[in-house]
């Protein structure tokens, strides 16, 4: 932890709740760590933390982000090292305090300290557009906007894009936060039948570049059930492969985004089951 680094700060945000921010933070964080990057994931959802649970570290939380901000604990004491990936760390949120316990100065200090020790800082934003969400995006170099192909999620993402363009440090300096769209819970069959907004629809409406498409999959639920990011729990599954490709795009590689589709026989097409 001593070599000088300069982390890239990512915020995983969406506006709407339940679209997959925490799942995606865990999956992307683990994928980056798996590729040898030194990663810290920070839970900004004060009062409703869940990143610890999705990462399977819920029984190892001693100190949290609020404790560090209030000087109760030093940063290294609060960081939890993942048991599977030695490069992956978690800074949990407090479960008992309210959102006002986060201060702008406190967050700035924590991010500044982490920047020198990690390659990537991934901030898991709470839902909404209140304090927790604006502080999570405050120091971001890049944002991952998690969106489901569904009207309310797309609308809220549009709102969040507006905030990223006005309330972040970068925006206030006149620069632009890099924005990446991550479409989750995509169901190719429903899109093909015109029942779900297509990728093109969402891209046209939000007009930000596409980072990846995570297909709806039972593997995602299974992974969170056992407290392991899907990229570790079933690395060959379709959602895990999509997350791995997304991390490579984050690192600057140009890989075309494939729209997920499943090969299905004529019988399934006519009498197909619902989404897995």
């Amino acid at each position: 932890m001593n070599d000088k680094k300069s982390a890239r700060v990512l915020v995983v945000t969406s506006g709407k709740g339940g679209v997959g921010k925490t799942t995606s933070t865990a999956a992307l964080g683990a994928a980056l760590a798996h590729q040898g990057e030194k990663v810290v994931v920070i839970d900004f959802d004060v009062g409703l933390r869940n990143l610890d649970l999705v990462l399977g570290a819920e029984r190892r939380v001693v100190f949290d982000l609020i404790n560090v901000i209030h000087g109760v604990a030093k940063l290294p004491q609060a960081l939890i090292r993942d048991k599977r990936l030695e490069n992956l760390f978690l800074l949990p949120a407090s479960q008992t305090r309210d959102k006002d316990a986060l201060t702008e100065d406190g967050v700035a200090k924590v991010i500044a300290e982490l920047r020198s020790k990690f390659d990537w800082i991934v901030c898991d934003s709470p839902a909404g557009i209140e304090r927790g969400a604006t502080l999570a995006m405050r120091h971001a170099d890049a944002a991952i906007i998690v969106t489901n192909p569904e009207v309310s999620s797309v609308r809220d993402s549009d709102r969040i894009i507006g905030l990223l363009d006005s309330k972040t440090e970068k925006a206030e300096r006149g620069e632009c936060v890099d924005k990446h769209l991550l479409i989750t819970r995509y169901n190719p069959w429903r899109a093909a039948r015109g029942e779900m907004l297509s990728i093109d629809d969402v891209l046209e409406i939000l007009s930000i570049p596409l980072l990846g498409i995570i297909p709806e999959s039972e593997e995602v639920l299974r992974a969170s059930n056992v407290g392991s990011p899907v990229t570790l729990n079933s690395p060959l599954s379709a959602p895990a492969r999509a997350y791995f490709e997304a991390t490579r795009r984050l690192k600057g590689e140009t890989i075309p985004v494939k729209i997920p589709s499943e090969s299905r026989g004529i019988f399934n097409k006519l009498f197909g089951r619902k989404a897995a």
Partner: protein
């Protein structure tokens, strides 16, 4: 049932259309919270520094179209002989595709 669904038009096109209309409106509303009010204050302040006029005889209109918005300001200024001249200023910004641009263009044209 599934066979029947194949022939039914999906609802995604409706979702797309509703979103496009809604967001076009919201982007303006959020990023130009009270553009009209701000422009009104600033323009009246500027003119008020040079001439006196009756605040009731001021008309400001804004029309937001799909590709072009217009801002019209009419201020009735009494001249020394008591008659009226009308100062009129019109800005025709091209509405930005996304956020803010519309605001800054209007600001530039008016400034």
């Amino acid at each position: 049932m599934k066979l029947f669904n194949l022939f039914r038009r999906g609802s995604a096109p409706i979702a797309r259309e509703r979103l496009q209309i809604l967001l076009a409106h919201e982007r303006n509303a959020i990023h130009q919270p009270d553009l009209l009010g701000i422009l009104r204050e600033e323009i009246l302040g500027l003119i008020g520094r040079h001439v006196s006029f009756d605040p009731d005889k001021v008309q400001i209109k804004m029309d937001r179209g799909k590709s072009v918005s217009t801002l019209a300001v009419d201020i009735e200024i009494p001249n020394s002989r008591g008659a009226s001249v009308i100062v009129s200023q019109t800005a025709r910004p091209v509405a930005g595709r996304r956020r803010k641009r519309a605001v800054s263009e209007i600001d530039q044209r008016v400034a």
